[in-house]
Protein backbone atom coordinates (compact mmCIF):
# COMPACT_ATOMS: atom_id res chain seq x y z
CA UNK A 1 0.00 0.00 0.00
CA UNK A 2 2.84 2.36 0.91
CA UNK A 3 4.66 1.65 -2.34
CA UNK A 4 1.49 2.42 -4.28
CA UNK A 5 1.28 5.69 -2.37
CA UNK A 6 -2.06 4.96 -0.72
CA UNK A 7 -2.29 7.12 2.37
CA UNK A 8 -5.58 6.96 4.38
CA UNK A 9 -5.54 10.68 5.23
CA UNK A 10 -5.04 11.64 1.56
CA UNK A 11 -7.70 9.13 0.52
CA UNK A 12 -10.16 10.71 2.95
CA UNK A 13 -9.18 14.19 1.80
CA UNK A 14 -9.86 13.25 -1.83
CA UNK A 15 -13.26 11.75 -0.91
CA UNK A 16 -14.15 15.00 0.87
CA UNK A 17 -12.85 17.04 -2.09
CA UNK A 18 -15.00 15.09 -4.52
CA UNK A 19 -18.05 15.39 -2.25
CA UNK A 20 -17.51 19.17 -2.20
CA UNK A 21 -17.24 19.19 -6.01
CA UNK A 22 -20.51 17.24 -6.34
CA UNK A 23 -22.37 19.61 -4.00
CA UNK A 24 -20.92 22.83 -5.47
CA UNK A 25 -21.38 21.80 -9.10
CA UNK A 26 -24.95 20.69 -8.37
CA UNK A 27 -25.72 24.08 -6.86
CA UNK A 28 -23.66 26.26 -9.23
CA UNK A 29 -23.84 24.44 -12.54
CA UNK A 30 -26.35 21.63 -13.01
CA UNK A 31 -29.38 23.09 -11.23
CA UNK A 32 -29.33 26.53 -12.93
CA UNK A 33 -28.46 25.18 -16.36
CA UNK A 34 -31.01 22.35 -16.29
CA UNK A 35 -33.62 24.80 -14.94
CA UNK A 36 -32.81 27.22 -17.77
CA UNK A 37 -33.05 24.44 -20.37
CA UNK A 38 -36.38 23.33 -18.89
CA UNK A 39 -37.64 26.94 -18.83
CA UNK A 40 -36.64 27.46 -22.45
CA UNK A 41 -38.26 24.19 -23.44
CA UNK A 42 -41.45 25.25 -21.66
CA UNK A 43 -41.39 28.68 -23.32
CA UNK A 44 -40.90 27.08 -26.75
CA UNK A 45 -43.75 24.64 -26.12
CA UNK A 46 -46.00 27.46 -24.92
CA UNK A 47 -45.00 29.58 -27.92
CA UNK A 48 -45.79 26.75 -30.31
CA UNK A 49 -49.13 26.08 -28.60
CA UNK A 50 -49.92 29.80 -28.75
CA UNK A 51 -49.07 29.99 -32.44
CA UNK A 52 -51.30 26.97 -33.14
CA UNK A 53 -54.11 28.62 -31.15
CA UNK A 54 -53.60 31.89 -33.00
CA UNK A 55 -53.66 30.12 -36.35
CA UNK A 56 -56.91 28.42 -35.41
CA UNK A 57 -58.38 31.72 -34.24
CA UNK A 58 -57.17 33.37 -37.44
CA UNK A 59 -58.92 30.67 -39.46
CA UNK A 60 -62.09 31.13 -37.39
CA UNK A 61 -61.80 34.90 -37.80
CA UNK A 62 -61.29 34.48 -41.54
CA UNK A 63 -64.44 32.38 -41.83
CA UNK A 64 -66.36 34.91 -39.73
CA UNK A 65 -64.95 37.76 -41.80
CA UNK A 66 -66.04 36.07 -45.04
CA UNK A 67 -69.52 35.52 -43.60
CA UNK A 68 -69.73 39.13 -42.43
CA UNK A 69 -68.55 40.37 -45.82
CA UNK A 70 -71.11 38.19 -47.59
CA UNK A 71 -73.84 39.48 -45.27
CA UNK A 72 -72.71 43.06 -45.79
CA UNK A 73 -72.65 42.61 -49.55
CA UNK A 74 -76.14 41.08 -49.44
CA UNK A 75 -77.39 43.92 -47.24
CA UNK A 76 -75.78 46.51 -49.49
CA UNK A 77 -77.49 44.92 -52.51
CA UNK A 78 -80.86 45.03 -50.72
CA UNK A 79 -80.29 48.65 -49.68
CA UNK A 80 -79.30 49.55 -53.25
CA UNK A 81 -82.38 47.85 -54.66
CA UNK A 82 -84.57 49.63 -52.12
CA UNK A 83 -82.89 52.92 -52.91
CA UNK A 84 -83.43 52.45 -56.63
CA UNK A 85 -87.06 51.53 -56.05
CA UNK A 86 -87.61 54.51 -53.77
CA UNK A 87 -85.83 56.80 -56.21
CA UNK A 88 -88.05 55.58 -59.05
CA UNK A 89 -91.17 56.09 -56.94
CA UNK A 90 -89.98 59.55 -55.95
CA UNK A 91 -89.26 60.32 -59.62
CA UNK A 92 -92.76 59.27 -60.59
CA UNK A 93 -94.25 61.30 -57.76
CA UNK A 94 -92.19 64.37 -58.66
CA UNK A 95 -93.05 64.01 -62.34
CA UNK A 96 -96.76 63.64 -61.53
CA UNK A 97 -96.66 66.67 -59.24
CA UNK A 98 -94.78 68.65 -61.86
CA UNK A 99 -97.26 67.67 -64.55
CA UNK A 100 -100.13 68.57 -62.27
CA UNK A 101 -98.54 71.90 -61.35
CA UNK A 102 -97.76 72.61 -64.98
CA UNK A 103 -101.31 71.88 -66.03
CA UNK A 104 -102.59 74.03 -63.18
CA UNK A 105 -100.32 76.86 -64.21
CA UNK A 106 -101.43 76.41 -67.80
CA UNK A 107 -105.10 76.44 -66.79
CA UNK A 108 -104.56 79.51 -64.68
CA UNK A 109 -102.66 81.24 -67.48
CA UNK A 110 -105.40 80.34 -69.92
CA UNK A 111 -108.06 81.68 -67.56
CA UNK A 112 -106.04 84.84 -67.00
CA UNK A 113 -105.52 85.24 -70.75
CA UNK A 114 -109.23 84.78 -71.37
CA UNK A 115 -110.10 87.24 -68.61
CA UNK A 116 -107.55 89.75 -69.93
CA UNK A 117 -108.84 89.18 -73.45
CA UNK A 118 -112.40 89.74 -72.33
CA UNK A 119 -111.51 92.83 -70.37
CA UNK A 120 -109.55 94.23 -73.27
CA UNK A 121 -112.39 93.39 -75.63
CA UNK A 122 -114.84 95.15 -73.32
CA UNK A 123 -112.56 98.16 -73.07
CA UNK A 124 -112.08 98.27 -76.84
CA UNK A 125 -115.80 97.90 -77.33
CA UNK A 126 -116.53 100.64 -74.81
CA UNK A 127 -113.89 102.80 -76.42
CA UNK A 128 -115.38 102.11 -79.85
CA UNK A 129 -118.88 102.80 -78.55
CA UNK A 130 -117.68 106.05 -76.96
CA UNK A 131 -115.83 107.04 -80.14
CA UNK A 132 -118.73 106.12 -82.31
CA UNK A 133 -121.03 107.95 -79.99
CA UNK A 134 -118.84 111.07 -80.08
CA UNK A 135 -118.58 110.90 -83.85
CA UNK A 136 -122.24 110.29 -84.11
CA UNK A 137 -122.95 113.19 -81.77
CA UNK A 138 -120.93 115.56 -83.87
CA UNK A 139 -122.36 114.23 -87.09
CA UNK A 140 -125.88 114.28 -85.84
CA UNK A 141 -125.49 117.81 -84.46
CA UNK A 142 -124.25 119.13 -87.74
CA UNK A 143 -126.76 117.24 -89.90
CA UNK A 144 -129.93 116.80 -87.87
CA UNK A 145 -132.25 119.37 -86.17
CA UNK A 146 -133.01 118.86 -82.49
CA UNK A 147 -136.42 117.44 -83.40
CA UNK A 148 -134.92 114.87 -85.76
CA UNK A 149 -132.35 113.98 -83.13
CA UNK A 150 -135.12 113.21 -80.70
CA UNK A 151 -136.93 111.06 -83.26
CA UNK A 152 -133.71 109.11 -84.06
CA UNK A 153 -132.93 108.57 -80.36
CA UNK A 154 -136.38 107.29 -79.79
CA UNK A 155 -136.06 104.99 -82.80
CA UNK A 156 -132.69 103.56 -81.49
CA UNK A 157 -134.06 103.12 -78.02
CA UNK A 158 -136.92 101.15 -79.45
CA UNK A 159 -134.49 98.96 -81.40
CA UNK A 160 -132.38 98.42 -78.32
CA UNK A 161 -135.48 97.47 -76.43
CA UNK A 162 -136.30 94.99 -79.21
CA UNK A 163 -132.75 93.53 -79.18
CA UNK A 164 -132.90 93.14 -75.38
CA UNK A 165 -136.14 91.22 -75.55
CA UNK A 166 -134.65 88.95 -78.21
Amino acid sequence: MEKLGIEPSLLLAQIVNFAIIVVVLTKLLYTPILAMIAKRKKEIEEGLALSVRQREEEEKFGIRKEKLLADARKEARVILEDGKKQAKEAEHEILAAAHKEASEILEKAKAEAIATHEALSADIRAEAVGLASAMAKRLVASVLSPGDQHKLIAKHLTELEKNKTL
Binding site: L10, Q14, L25, L34
Partner: protein
Protein backbone atom coordinates in the same frame (compact mmCIF):
# COMPACT_ATOMS: atom_id res chain seq x y z
CA UNK B 1 16.32 10.50 -16.84
CA UNK B 2 13.00 12.10 -15.91
CA UNK B 3 11.75 11.73 -12.37
CA UNK B 4 9.11 8.94 -12.20
CA UNK B 5 7.41 7.93 -8.99
CA UNK B 6 4.41 5.62 -8.57
CA UNK B 7 3.30 7.39 -5.39
CA UNK B 8 2.45 11.06 -5.22
CA UNK B 9 5.19 13.09 -3.52
CA UNK B 10 4.50 14.81 -0.20
CA UNK B 11 5.22 18.49 -0.73
CA UNK B 12 4.64 19.63 2.83
CA UNK B 13 2.76 18.80 6.01
CA UNK B 14 0.24 21.06 7.74
CA UNK B 15 -0.32 20.08 11.39
CA UNK B 16 0.90 16.62 10.53
CA UNK B 17 -1.51 16.32 7.58
CA UNK B 18 0.39 15.42 4.38
CA UNK B 19 -0.12 17.70 1.38
CA UNK B 20 0.79 15.80 -1.77
CA UNK B 21 1.39 17.35 -5.18
CA UNK B 22 -1.66 15.42 -6.49
CA UNK B 23 -3.76 17.00 -3.73
CA UNK B 24 -2.57 20.48 -4.77
CA UNK B 25 -3.54 19.69 -8.38
CA UNK B 26 -6.91 18.42 -7.14
CA UNK B 27 -7.51 21.79 -5.45
CA UNK B 28 -6.48 23.49 -8.70
CA UNK B 29 -8.98 21.35 -10.64
CA UNK B 30 -11.68 22.13 -8.07
CA UNK B 31 -10.89 25.84 -8.38
CA UNK B 32 -11.11 25.68 -12.18
CA UNK B 33 -14.45 23.84 -12.08
CA UNK B 34 -16.00 26.08 -9.43
CA UNK B 35 -14.76 29.31 -11.03
CA UNK B 36 -15.92 28.25 -14.51
CA UNK B 37 -19.33 27.20 -13.16
CA UNK B 38 -19.73 30.52 -11.37
CA UNK B 39 -18.68 32.55 -14.42
CA UNK B 40 -20.99 30.63 -16.74
CA UNK B 41 -24.11 30.77 -14.57
CA UNK B 42 -23.82 34.17 -12.87
CA UNK B 43 -25.72 36.02 -15.65
CA UNK B 44 -27.94 33.51 -17.37
CA UNK B 45 -30.48 34.54 -19.96
CA UNK B 46 -33.19 32.77 -21.93
CA UNK B 47 -31.27 33.59 -25.12
CA UNK B 48 -27.84 32.12 -24.25
CA UNK B 49 -24.53 33.86 -24.89
CA UNK B 50 -21.35 32.07 -26.04
CA UNK B 51 -20.17 30.61 -22.72
CA UNK B 52 -23.70 29.81 -21.58
CA UNK B 53 -24.38 28.04 -24.88
CA UNK B 54 -21.29 25.86 -24.45
CA UNK B 55 -22.21 25.07 -20.82
CA UNK B 56 -25.80 24.25 -21.78
CA UNK B 57 -24.60 22.07 -24.64
CA UNK B 58 -22.20 20.22 -22.29
CA UNK B 59 -24.59 19.79 -19.34
CA UNK B 60 -27.63 19.13 -21.57
CA UNK B 61 -25.63 16.64 -23.65
CA UNK B 62 -24.37 14.83 -20.54
CA UNK B 63 -27.91 14.77 -19.11
CA UNK B 64 -29.33 13.22 -22.28
CA UNK B 65 -26.43 10.77 -22.48
CA UNK B 66 -26.84 9.57 -18.89
CA UNK B 67 -30.64 9.55 -19.29
CA UNK B 68 -30.18 6.95 -22.04
CA UNK B 69 -28.31 4.76 -19.51
CA UNK B 70 -30.16 5.36 -16.23
CA UNK B 71 -33.65 6.11 -17.57
CA UNK B 72 -36.08 7.48 -15.01
CA UNK B 73 -33.38 7.75 -12.30
CA UNK B 74 -31.34 10.28 -14.26
CA UNK B 75 -32.44 13.30 -12.22
CA UNK B 76 -31.23 11.58 -9.01
CA UNK B 77 -27.91 10.25 -10.27
CA UNK B 78 -27.00 13.01 -12.72
CA UNK B 79 -25.08 15.22 -10.24
CA UNK B 80 -22.84 12.28 -9.30
CA UNK B 81 -22.07 10.90 -12.74
CA UNK B 82 -21.72 14.34 -14.36
CA UNK B 83 -19.36 15.46 -11.58
CA UNK B 84 -17.32 12.28 -12.04
CA UNK B 85 -17.04 12.98 -15.76
CA UNK B 86 -16.15 16.67 -15.43
CA UNK B 87 -13.75 16.21 -12.53
CA UNK B 88 -11.87 13.30 -14.15
CA UNK B 89 -11.78 15.02 -17.53
CA UNK B 90 -10.35 18.29 -16.17
CA UNK B 91 -7.97 16.44 -13.84
CA UNK B 92 -6.68 14.34 -16.76
CA UNK B 93 -6.20 17.38 -18.99
CA UNK B 94 -4.63 19.54 -16.29
CA UNK B 95 -2.07 16.76 -15.84
CA UNK B 96 -0.94 17.42 -19.43
CA UNK B 97 -0.33 21.14 -18.93
CA UNK B 98 3.28 22.33 -19.12
CA UNK B 99 4.66 22.73 -15.61
CA UNK B 100 2.80 19.76 -14.15
CA UNK B 101 5.55 17.34 -13.14
CA UNK B 102 8.30 19.77 -14.15
CA UNK B 103 7.91 22.73 -11.79
CA UNK B 104 9.17 21.76 -8.34
CA UNK B 105 12.06 21.95 -5.97
CA UNK B 106 15.14 19.95 -5.01
CA UNK B 107 15.74 18.78 -1.47
CA UNK B 108 17.97 16.37 0.40
CA UNK B 109 16.61 12.93 1.38
CA UNK B 110 19.04 10.57 3.14
CA UNK B 111 21.98 12.53 1.73
CA UNK B 112 20.61 12.39 -1.80
CA UNK B 113 19.29 15.38 -3.80
CA UNK B 114 15.73 14.59 -4.87
CA UNK B 115 13.45 16.57 -7.20
CA UNK B 116 9.86 16.96 -5.96
CA UNK B 117 7.35 18.32 -8.48
CA UNK B 118 4.88 20.88 -7.13
CA UNK B 119 2.06 19.54 -9.31
CA UNK B 120 1.16 16.02 -10.38
CA UNK B 121 -1.82 14.87 -12.40
CA UNK B 122 -4.58 14.36 -9.83
CA UNK B 123 -5.69 11.11 -11.45
CA UNK B 124 -2.08 9.90 -11.65
CA UNK B 125 -2.35 9.32 -7.89
CA UNK B 126 -4.03 6.18 -6.57
CA UNK B 127 -5.44 8.11 -3.60
CA UNK B 128 -7.57 10.19 -5.99
CA UNK B 129 -8.72 7.33 -8.21
CA UNK B 130 -9.42 5.08 -5.22
CA UNK B 131 -11.35 7.90 -3.54
CA UNK B 132 -13.44 8.38 -6.69
CA UNK B 133 -14.03 4.61 -6.95
CA UNK B 134 -15.06 4.34 -3.28
CA UNK B 135 -17.35 7.34 -3.64
CA UNK B 136 -18.94 5.91 -6.80
CA UNK B 137 -19.41 2.44 -5.29
CA UNK B 138 -20.77 3.93 -2.08
CA UNK B 139 -23.27 5.95 -4.12
CA UNK B 140 -24.27 2.84 -6.11
CA UNK B 141 -25.05 0.95 -2.88
CA UNK B 142 -26.83 4.01 -1.46
CA UNK B 143 -29.15 4.31 -4.50
CA UNK B 144 -29.72 0.55 -4.43
CA UNK B 145 -30.87 0.66 -0.80
CA UNK B 146 -32.76 3.92 -1.36
CA UNK B 147 -34.79 2.44 -4.21
CA UNK B 148 -35.51 -1.05 -2.86
CA UNK B 149 -34.86 -0.70 0.87
CA UNK B 150 -33.77 -3.88 2.67
CA UNK B 151 -34.69 -5.99 -0.37
CA UNK B 152 -31.53 -4.70 -2.04
CA UNK B 153 -29.49 -6.50 0.64
CA UNK B 154 -30.74 -9.85 -0.72
CA UNK B 155 -28.44 -9.28 -3.66
CA UNK B 156 -25.51 -10.06 -1.35
CA UNK B 157 -27.03 -11.97 1.58
CA UNK B 158 -29.63 -14.51 0.53
CA UNK B 159 -29.85 -17.48 2.92
CA UNK B 160 -33.02 -18.98 1.39
CA UNK B 161 -31.08 -21.16 -1.00
CA UNK B 162 -27.39 -22.34 -0.95
CA UNK B 163 -26.95 -21.37 -4.61
CA UNK B 164 -28.34 -17.89 -3.99
CA UNK B 165 -26.07 -17.60 -0.96
CA UNK B 166 -23.04 -18.45 -3.09
CA UNK B 167 -24.20 -16.07 -5.83
CA UNK B 168 -24.57 -13.39 -3.15
CA UNK B 169 -20.96 -13.93 -2.09
CA UNK B 170 -19.84 -13.66 -5.71
CA UNK B 171 -21.84 -10.42 -6.03
CA UNK B 172 -20.10 -9.06 -2.93
CA UNK B 173 -16.67 -9.92 -4.32
CA UNK B 174 -17.70 -8.45 -7.66
CA UNK B 175 -18.67 -5.16 -5.97
CA UNK B 176 -15.30 -5.01 -4.19
CA UNK B 177 -13.46 -5.83 -7.40
CA UNK B 178 -15.30 -2.99 -9.12
CA UNK B 179 -13.63 -0.56 -6.71
CA UNK B 180 -10.19 -1.94 -7.57
CA UNK B 181 -11.05 -2.06 -11.27
CA UNK B 182 -12.29 1.55 -11.27
CA UNK B 183 -9.30 2.85 -9.34
CA UNK B 184 -6.55 0.99 -11.19
CA UNK B 185 -8.00 1.44 -14.69
CA UNK B 186 -8.02 5.20 -14.36
CA UNK B 187 -4.73 5.40 -12.49
CA UNK B 188 -3.02 2.97 -14.86
CA UNK B 189 -4.09 4.79 -18.02
CA UNK B 190 -3.24 8.27 -16.81
CA UNK B 191 0.00 7.34 -15.03
CA UNK B 192 1.16 5.33 -18.05
CA UNK B 193 0.38 8.29 -20.31
CA UNK B 194 2.36 10.67 -18.11
CA UNK B 195 5.31 8.26 -18.01
CA UNK B 196 5.14 7.89 -21.78
CA UNK B 197 5.10 11.67 -22.26
CA UNK B 198 7.97 12.13 -19.81
CA UNK B 199 10.10 9.52 -21.60
CA UNK B 200 9.28 10.88 -25.08
CA UNK B 201 9.96 14.44 -23.95
CA UNK B 202 13.28 13.29 -22.46
CA UNK B 203 14.32 11.46 -25.64
CA UNK B 204 12.97 13.93 -28.24
CA UNK B 205 11.85 17.16 -26.60
CA UNK B 206 10.61 19.02 -29.74
CA UNK B 207 7.60 18.26 -31.99
CA UNK B 208 7.67 14.48 -31.40
CA UNK B 209 5.68 14.61 -28.10
CA UNK B 210 2.82 16.50 -29.84
CA UNK B 211 1.01 13.44 -31.27
CA UNK B 212 1.40 11.72 -27.91
CA UNK B 213 -0.08 14.73 -26.11
CA UNK B 214 -3.03 14.66 -28.55
CA UNK B 215 -3.46 10.97 -27.87
CA UNK B 216 -3.32 11.60 -24.10
CA UNK B 217 -6.02 14.28 -24.46
CA UNK B 218 -8.18 11.67 -26.14
CA UNK B 219 -7.30 9.03 -23.53
CA UNK B 220 -8.18 11.53 -20.77
CA UNK B 221 -11.60 12.09 -22.34
CA UNK B 222 -12.23 8.37 -22.89
CA UNK B 223 -11.22 7.48 -19.32
CA UNK B 224 -13.55 10.15 -17.90
CA UNK B 225 -16.36 8.82 -20.08
CA UNK B 226 -15.66 5.19 -19.18
CA UNK B 227 -15.54 5.90 -15.43
CA UNK B 228 -18.76 7.94 -15.39
CA UNK B 229 -20.62 5.68 -17.81
CA UNK B 230 -19.69 2.52 -15.90
CA UNK B 231 -20.87 4.20 -12.69
CA UNK B 232 -24.17 5.01 -14.42
CA UNK B 233 -24.50 1.44 -15.69
CA UNK B 234 -23.73 -0.08 -12.26
CA UNK B 235 -26.19 2.35 -10.72
CA UNK B 236 -28.92 1.25 -13.13
CA UNK B 237 -28.14 -2.43 -12.50
CA UNK B 238 -28.20 -1.93 -8.72
CA UNK B 239 -31.47 -0.02 -8.83
CA UNK B 240 -33.07 -2.46 -11.26
CA UNK B 241 -31.90 -5.45 -9.19
CA UNK B 242 -33.23 -3.85 -6.02
CA UNK B 243 -36.58 -3.15 -7.64
CA UNK B 244 -36.76 -6.73 -8.93
CA UNK B 245 -36.12 -8.11 -5.42
CA UNK B 246 -38.72 -5.73 -4.01
CA UNK B 247 -41.36 -6.85 -6.54
CA UNK B 248 -40.58 -10.50 -5.82
CA UNK B 249 -40.95 -9.91 -2.06
CA UNK B 250 -44.22 -8.01 -2.57
CA UNK B 251 -45.46 -10.82 -4.85
CA UNK B 252 -44.80 -13.42 -2.17
CA UNK B 253 -46.50 -11.27 0.46
Amino acid sequence: MPHISLAAEIVTRIAGFPISNALITTWLVMGILIFASYMVTRRMSLVPSGAQSVAEMLVGGLYDFFASVTGKYVSQVFPLVASLFLFILIANWVGLLPGVGTIGFFHEVHGETVFTPLFRGATADLNTTLALALFAMGAIQYYGFKTAGVHYGKRFFNVGNPIYFFVGLLELISELSKVISFAFRLFGNIFAGEVLLAVIAFLMPFVVPLPFITMELFVGFIQALVFSMLTAVFLSVAVAHGEHEKHLAEGHA
